[in-house]
């Protein structure tokens, strides 16, 4: 058990909790979380009241419709194949290309819709920890639309992650074996008796459960045989284990011998203590900071193993721990692009972002949902930041705070992607900026010092170095005539956001 935090519970701690266990929030949201007290605040995140189906999904991604689509596509393909016999090779080729192209275009649109849908859900959800854990699993069991090509399978996987967001790591790993998107992503589809593909077996051990050095090449080879015969049944939208393509012979994995199948191999993996240590460390690093102390890691590993790999109790322990609220933790983490974008919108009280913003923002900053770069997921922390992405963050903040006429700030005149619309350069047009009456009411703008302090609280919920605060105040004072106008307030906000400090949470 980690040393627990004492009974103090400040508003800054509440803000820190929602920053890390969620995507930040407006001052009002932080205030109501604080009012619950620490225990209830943590419980409200771990066991949210919001139903899993609170956000209607795009129709194409609903299971029934998806299956109907699969079936229709298959029938069309078969009919097309038959018809092709009547055609010349060139005509047949042309028909085939049209078929493929149509499906690709549809998939592209669906991909954009999926990206916008999840982004919108993260922004609006009252179960932010569940969304954040869904993102965690998406990164952990990384699967990309670029290879899978069928957004519906990614949406099904997203649903799996959300349902198991705070559940058992072991059960989720077992479920991933039967996940169509993962199967396609790791080429497990072609792994058959006599011709096992080691890709899935290796990634399961190296990236999903144990980490490098905690298994041998022999274990990988043997487990690969256990993972044979798992295939996609697209008409049912699920993975089935075809026994006749499974290698039923004895395998020796981690020194144990038996006719294991994939489930059995995963069971063996979770018999090793490294599985608990691996995931406990990864969760700590995601929510707290990199490189936990040996003592903290040992305590977490023990809790996680004893608790049967259940995520909720582990996170509860972390969110009650002394270290989580320590100076070393608070405002020390580099925001991921998604964290950055959602938090910024919440802090600016923007419920409906400009049309082109969600997808353009993701792609400009280097974290596109459903498109992790490879099976290892995204590189977090400092890897998010380079000279270009940092300036882009500053400029995105300028676009959001200042309103219309500045959409080139988003893309430099490149086209923006919006679902079900032609790519456009004008998806930001008409954006009026946030409601500054709400963010900085008029009376507040009469006193530059108070205005700056209020904005610093809104954006950082912790003090900034005095010389930085002084610069902001000086600017506000210099700009102020009788009172700061909306556009001057916007400029001030943009300046405050254009700092290294704002990249941390």
């Amino acid at each position: 058990m980690l040393p627990q935090a004492d009974n103090t519970w400040t508003i800054f701690e509440a803000a820190h909790l929602i920053n890390r266990a969620g995507f930040g929030g407006s001052p009002a949201a932080i205030k109501s979380l604080h009012a619950l007290g620490r225990t209830q605040a943590v419980e409200s995140l771990i066991a949210p009241g919001e139903p899993l189906d609170a956000f209607p999904r795009p129709a194409w991604s609903e299971r029934e419709q998806a299956l109907a689509t699969f079936k229709a596509r298959r029938d069309e393909f078969r009919a097309g194949k038959k018809a092709m016999r009547e055609l010349t090779p060139e005509e047949a080729e042309k028909k085939k290309r049209e078929f493929v192209k149509r499906n690709q275009q549809e998939a592209r649109q669906q991909g954009l819709e999926a990206q916008a849908w999840w982004f919108g859900r993260m922004l609006a959800s009252e179960a932010p920890l569940r969304e954040k854990m869904t993102l965690f699993w998406h990164d952990h069991f990384a699967t990309s639309i670029q290879k899978v090509k069928q957004p519906v399978l990614l949406m099904m996987q997203n649903d799996l992650f959300r349902r198991n967001a705070l559940g058992s790591f072991k059960e989720l790993t077992q479920a991933i074996l039967f996940d169509p998107a993962m199967l396609l992503y790791l080429d497990a589809q072609n792994s058959k008796k006599g011709r096992p593909n080691e890709n899935f077996a290796r990634e399961v051990m190296e990236l999903f459960t144990l980490g490098e050095g905690n298994y041998t090449e022999q274990d990988v080879r043997e487990a690969a045989r256990a993972f044979t015969g798992y295939q996609l049944d697209l008409t049912e939208g699920r993975v089935v284990h075809r026994k006749y393509q499974w290698d039923a012979g004895d395998k020796t994995i981690f020194g144990k011998t038996g006719p294991f199948d994939g489930k059995g191999a995963i069971e063996l993996i979770f018999g090793k203590k490294e599985a608990a240590a691996f995931m406990a460390k990864k969760l700590w690093e995601f929510f707290v900071y990199e490189k936990p102390s040996a003592a903290a890691l040992a305590a977490l590993t023990e809790s996680f193993q004893k608790g049967g790999f259940q995520v909720a109790p582990l996170l509860r322990e972390i969110f009650h721990s002394k270290e989580f609220y320590s100076e070393a933790t608070i405002r020390s983490q580099i925001k991921s692009p998604v964290q950055y974008l959602i938090t910024l919108l919440k802090q600016l009280e923007i419920r409906k972002p400009p049309l082109g913003f969600p997808i353009t923002g993701q792609s400009q900053l280097g974290q596109v949902l459903f498109m992790p770069p490879n099976v290892a997921g995204w590189d977090w922390g400092q890897a998010w930041i380079n000279t270009n992405t940092l300036l882009t963050r500053y400029n995105l903040a300028g676009f959001l705070t200042k309103g219309s006429g500045s959409e080139t700030q988003l893309t430099g005149g490149e086209k923006m992607k919006v679902p079900r619309m032609a790519a456009t350069k004008n998806a930001g047009r008409g954006w009026q900026g946030p409601d500054y009456e709400q963010i900085a009411p008029r009376p507040l703008r009469e006193n530059p010092g108070e205005l700056v302090d209020s904005l610093i609280y809104r954006f950082f919920q912790s003090p900034l170095p005095s010389e930085v605060r002084a610069s902001f105040t000086e600017y506000a004072t210099a700009k102020k005539g009788a009172i700061l106008t909306d556009s001057e307030t916007a400029e001030l906000c943009h300046l405050i956001l254009s700092t290294p400090y704002y990249q941390l949470c």
Binding site: S332, N374, L391, N395, L495, T499, Q503
Partner: protein, 443 residues
């Protein structure tokens, strides 16, 4: 030219009396902790040194239709629809010719300024765009390295800490720039590579960027391919990329350092590049636009040793004949303008350009008159510094590895040759992990 020292002196240390927004930003950038400040005032180097431009052909360039083995029957047999006929090509030898879309490279070859390396690759090739790109960029066939081959060059062979030692024209940092100390800078869209304060007066920098040739949608190479959500390799790869920080550096100090790098480089880049005007005209493609920028920066006297640009769309699984020729044509035309520009500036002897692609393509065409992911391929080296000619053995078209060409030149020996003999790295081993025999490409 403004160095970091000048920059810090003029802004941080002597605050201006006139209170403008850009000044404000510079001041907040300047509030650095001591460590970053020490690093920041180290002198810049390399102003008149040799320069390498790395040009990525993203998606897997079809080497066999780029450097055509026209005399080999096996080539024509494997590609009934795609093979280039003898009369269609630019002959380099009795066996090999360039795709006709590459007339400028053909003329460079005649002048002895084009090196063509054939059969380049690495052991146990990987057919994934992402993995193979990563291997080329990190120069680690095990794909475990957190730093890139160019980043290790910056760290090991470029004294000082000027971030503009390497500039890549990409949204995210190419993995080859990953470094422990100095990863260079990335710059995706020059219009955005600055802190934009709208409402202020249009300054010189903005005018400069407005004057640049903007690509229109029709010529955007990265989207020109109708082949679905492009598998265009790393150009479409929404990666964060591998980057190393200085060990022990906290996140805030790291952010301040990058912020200063961004600010210094943004200022320098805009100021220096704005000076140069050229009469050479460039196409409207993103590649040509980026090469134009590189030329402007070279003319402006940037201390940059390595520039990195990408040309995407080479993942030609379908109906590749026209699209592949078109992509090569864009490459050739961009290079033609670029080298003419350099010549006009008098900088042509300082610059060598190298192409690479994550893999070549299958020898046999596929059912859709395209080609699938392959293994070994060819690459080009262009410039006065290059000893023109054909390097490596011509890979056999009958002795194949899973339908692909076998490589006979390790790509790291090309890197090693360029690093040592062109960029004058004092030692190759810390960069590539081993020494490689010289191919004699430079000279």
């Amino acid at each position: 030219m403004k160095t970091r020292r000048d920059f810090l002196r003029s802004t941080v240390l002597g605050a201006s009396a006139s209170w403008t927004v850009p000044m404000f930003i510079e001041r907040t950038f300047g509030q650095l902790h001591q460590g970053a400040r020490d690093l920041a005032v180290q002198p810049v180097t390399g102003k008149d040194d040799t320069i390498l431009v790395v040009l990525q052909l993203a998606g897997g360039n079809d080497g066999l239709n780029t450097l055509v083995p026209f005399s080999d029957d096996a080539y024509h047999k494997a590609r009934p629809r795609l093979a280039k006929k003898e009369k269609e090509i630019i002959k380099l030898s009795d066996h090999l010719g360039l795709n006709a879309a590459l007339p400028f490279l053909g003329s460079l070859f005649k002048e002895g300024d084009l090196g063509v390396v054939q059969g380049v690759g690495y052991p146990n090739p990987n057919r994934s765009h992402f993995v193979s790109t990563s291997i080329w960029e990190t120069a680690d066939p095990g794909n475990r390295s957190a730093t890139g081959w160019l980043g290790r060059y910056f760290d090991n062979a470029c004294p000082g800490a000027d971030p503009t030692v390497g500039i890549s024209f990409n949204k995210t940092q190419p993995e080859s720039f990953g470094a422990l100390k100095n990863p260079g800078v990335c710059l995706n869209s020059p219009e955005l590579y600055r802190w934009i304060h709208q409402g202020g007066n249009k300054d010189q920098a903005e005018d400069f960027f407005a004057s640049l040739n903007r690509p229109d949608s029709g010529t955007d190479a990265s989207t020109a391919d109708d082949d679905g959500p492009t598998d265009g390799g790393s150009i479409a790869m929404p990666a964060g990329g591998k980057v190393g920080g200085i060990s022990g550096e906290g996140n805030l100090d790291f952010l301040k350092r990058v912020a200063l790098d961004a600010q210094v480089s943004s200022k320098t880049i805009l100021e220096l590049a704005a000076k140069h005007k050229t009469t050479v005209s460039y196409d409207g493609t993103p590649l040509a636009r980026n090469l134009n920028l590189v030329a402007r920066m070279i003319a402006g006297g940037m201390p940059t040793r390595v520039y990195y640009v990408s040309h995407g769309g080479f993942d030609t699984h379908n109906q590749q004949l026209n699209s592949h020729d078109r992509l090569l044509g864009q490459l050739d035309s961009g290079l033609k303008s670029f080298f003419a520009d350099l010549k006009q500036q008098g900088n042509d002897k300082r610059v060598v350009l190298m192409t690479f692609s994550e893999f070549g393509r299958r020898v046999a065409e596929n059912a859709s008159a395209g080609t699938d992911h392959g293994k070994g391929s060819c690459l080009f080296l262009a410039g006065h510094g290059i000893k023109g000619g054909i390097y490596g053995r011509q890979p056999s078209l009958s002795d194949l590895s899973e339908g692909d060409l076998k490589h006979n030149v390790d790509f790291r020996s090309v890197y090693g040759n360029i690093l040592g003999d062109w960029l004058k790295a004092p030692s190759i081993k810390p960069i590539l992990g081993a020494d490689y025999p010289s191919l004699g490409l430079v000279g």
